[in-house]
């Protein structure tokens, strides 16, 4: 995997250099400016030492960079940072020290480091955390060399007029299916509306041994919130009121969304009411669940499957008003550090821009939808083996404004499982949908107030 990744990244690098010549010049000028500033700092003897590259003034600026990517994502990010350290696009002295922490520990470590005043220079943060972290982030509005990002994705990084992160991607969710099982059931993809989806599920139920559909592969760690939120938006609802003081999803939209999810393991009998961790992830991979909803990142798993798989936009909610899909973004933040010079901050921003603007492999290999428009519209992505399967439909959804972004609560961790147990309660048929929704509203209102 890593060999392919690196090789592919090199190929795409060449293509990117040809297609983004103008961007490259601008980046070079900007990088040269930063490198000059860094060089001056080095000449002044601010840091001393060898600098790891053997060049220039002999001082080094090693930027610490905390990421949360594992598996295929992690391999691609590693290759990007390796490339940075080989090419030294911001000058011989500037390197990046990447440190990877597991997803579930990343934010607690980051949060602790930020409150303790010793954060890294750069860190990955989901867009949904930005308002929460805003007090300790640098407003980098004036330091960006380009705002040529997808509007909706860049918008998720902007709070109260400031820009608090460089957007890297969007990672929406969609419908993955096992083509072999669909064919066994007599179903011919694509699945382009709910009626087709419903007919497919019933045919699978009738003609195969597989369970037709389970909405969330991560019941143990996720709780189905992405899927419920997708339904909420397809029915035109919202989670919170505009000033984020109250949960308002106890209305028809929120109830309809949960009602459908509960019906999957209830009266529709498309799945079992079992929300144990990894059940669906394993079942989908071993062919005992035919369809599931998962994110862009899932292509790294699917590439290794021995069955034929397909993908469609997630039209899985009955009588939905509109097509929407849950989305969040990986962004790169530059936390405030008490001892960081302005040069260091600007270099950090330039490095974040390089990572997000110069690496189409993040889309073509890791499967995420790049946020930087020249990459998103460049030549590299359409040549990717997953372009037609996942990236193109996701790109269309992004361009059509169909990404439903997570809200950004100031005092809550959206990804904390305890905030979503009311969904798993309904899915496991432990309590009624109405009771679950009420529990969810009460829990969230008390959390955000």
């Amino acid at each position: 995997m890593s060999d392919n990744t690196v090789g592919s990244a090199d190929t795409h690098t060449d293509q990117r250099q040809a297609s983004n010549e103008r961007t490259g010049r601008r980046r070079f000028l900007q990088a040269a400016g930063v490198a000059g500033a860094v060089g001056l700092a080095g000449c002044s003897g601010l840091t001393g030492g060898g600098g790891g590259g053997g060049g220039g003034g002999g001082s080094g600026m090693e930027l610490s960079y905390w990421t949360l990517f594992g598996g295929g994502d992690g391999e691609v990010m590693k290759s990007i940072i390796d490339k940075f350290n080989e090419e030294r696009p911001l000058g011989e002295d500037v390197t990046i020290n990447r440190q990877r922490t597991p997803w579930e520990e990343h934010y607690n470590r980051l949060y602790t480091a930020m409150t303790g005043g010793s954060p890294p220079d750069l860190a990955i943060s989901h867009a949904s955390y930005l308002r929460r972290f805003k007090p300790t982030l640098n407003d980098i509005s004036g330091m960006l060399s380009s705002n040529d990002y997808v509007d909706q994705i860049l918008g998720a990084c902007q709070i109260d007029g400031g820009t608090y992160a460089v957007p890297m991607d969007s990672h929406p969710v969609g419908l993955y299916y096992n083509v072999d099982i669909l064919n066994e059931a007599g179903v011919e993809p694509p699945i382009e509306n709910f009626q087709q989806f419903e007919e497919a599920c019933n045919a699978i139920l009738e003609n195969t041994d597989a369970k037709p559909f389970s909405p969330d592969p991560y019941w143990g760690g996720g709780g189905g919130f992405r899927q419920w939120f997708m339904g909420l938006n397809q029915y035109g609802g919202q989670m919170f009121n505009d000033d984020m003081t109250e949960a308002v999803f106890g209305d028809e939209a929120g109830t309809n969304s949960l009602d459908f999810l509960a019906s999957v393991s209830g009266e529709r009998n498309w799945d079992t009411p079992d929300i144990s961790a990894d059940r669906v992830a394993q079942s989908f991979r071993n062919g005992s669940v035919a369809m599931t909803v998962n994110g862009t990142w899932y292509v790294n798993v699917m590439r290794e499957q021995d069955f034929e798989w397909g993908f469609d936009k997630p039209r899985v909610f009955p009588d939905a008003d509109q097509l929407r899909t849950t989305a969040d973004s990986h962004t790169i933040i530059v936390p405030q550090k008490s001892n960081a010079s302005q040069e260091r901050i600007e270099t950090s921003v330039a490095a974040a821009e390089w990572i997000t603007q110069e690496n189409p492999s993040w889309g073509s290999e890791a499967g995420h939808l790049p946020a930087y428009s020249p990459i998103l519209n460049g030549d590299a992505l359409p040549e990717s083996d997953i372009w037609n399967k996942t990236l193109k439909p996701f790109k269309e959804m992004a361009e059509d404004g169909q990404l439903a972004y997570w809200p950004q609560p100031e005092s809550a961790n959206l990804y904390d499982t305890s905030n979503w147990t009311w969904i798993t309660d309904a899915y496991s048929q432990n309590i009624s949908v109405d009771q679950a929704i009420q529990n969810g509203v009460d829990n969230w209102t008390s959390t955000i107030q």
Binding site: Y111, T115, P135, Q282, N413, T417, T421, S428
Partner: protein, 307 residues
């Protein structure tokens, strides 16, 4: 010359004073490293926690924290999530502490007998205790799994719908409790075994001569003689039970619903999920107060030399 003689002699008094000063200095020097560590890592956080509990604490900028007096404490009294977490913690304690003490005592008395392979049995009983909480919890999560767990595999042979152990409101907490008993009983077992072995055999011989049966000897000799060890085991397990976090975190994430969310999980959630460090410190202080009260009660009920 005894100490009294030296005191009477006068000379010994001065000698004693000088020695006690020296001993005092030596004692202080000897204790100093511990006292420093105690102050930095225990006393200071303890006092700081009490201070924070009086504020709406701003973790990013502590100087901007807002003093609210006992506001966090009054809020806690009306917070249903706190009471739910407290109830869950009490339930967990009720399930685990007596079980650990009874099972530990049973195992200790069992392997204290002259049976074949008792050395191996001792090692087996103690061995789960050396695991970390995450390993113990993951092992049992796999055993309970509805997908590939061995428990439901065998139950599935005799019943059509085996329980979803960790997803059920009824079974989730008992499932965690069983894991905990299996994991922690080894420690209590070792303590109780040592205590049992220190009971003088002549007491049993005397009891036998008086015609006491096995139960009578257990009730009137074993238990009273082991009372201090039992008290220690009860208190230490109660403290652990009230501080339970890892098992429910790994096995159920506090669910289903909030049915396995414990006090420390709620404390953690208040601090790191809701960023409300002042309230989290308040929960911590209340938890400490509960533990002190429970320990004192235990002391008077079973442990103290108060007869």
């Amino acid at each position: 010359m005894s100490a009294i003689d030296r005191f009477k002699g006068g000379e010994g008094v001065l000698s004693n004073v000088s020695r006690s000063r020296k001993e005092l200095v030596e004692g202080i020097l000897f204790s100093l490293p511990y006292l420093v560590l105690f102050g930095v890592f225990l006393l200071y956080p303890l006092l700081m926690g009490g201070y924070m509990s009086l504020f709406e604490w701003n973790a990013f900028f502590p100087s901007r924290s807002e003093f609210i007096g006992i506001g966090n404490y009054t809020h806690l009294l009306g917070d249903p999530q706190f009471w739910n977490a407290l109830g869950n913690t009490l339930y967990f304690s009720l399930l685990t502490v007596p079980s650990i003490v009874i099972v530990g005592l049973g195992l200790a008395l069992g392997v204290n007998r002259d049976i074949r392979g008792r050395g191996v049995l001792r090692a087996i009983f103690f061995s789960p205790y050396i695991l970390t909480v995450s390993v113990a919890a993951v092992v049992w999560t796999n055993l309970y799994s509805t997908q590939y767990g061995v428990i439901n595999y065998y139950l599935g042979l005799v019943m059509s719908n085996p329980p979803q152990w960790l997803q059920s409101y009824v079974f989730a907490m008992p499932s965690i409790a069983i894991t905990t008993v299996w994991w922690l009983v080894g420690f209590s077992f070792v303590i109780l075994l040592a205590a049992r072995q220190s009971v003088p055999e002549y007491l049993y011989e005397a009891a036998k001569l008086d015609g006491a049966g096995t139960w009578r000897m257990f009730r009137d000799v074993t238990v009273p003689q082991m009372r201090h060890a039992i008290f220690f085991v009860v208190v230490i397990n109660l403290i652990w039970a009230f501080q339970v976090y890892g098992q429910p975190y790994v096995m159920t994430s506090g669910g289903p619903g909030q049915s396995t969310t414990t006090l420390v999980m709620y404390l953690y959630e208040a601090a790191f999920n809701q960023q409300n460090f002042g309230y989290a410190a308040t929960i911590g202080y209340v938890l400490t107060a509960i533990l002190v009260v429970v320990s004192i009660l235990n002391y008077y009920l079973i442990g103290g030399d108060n007869e």
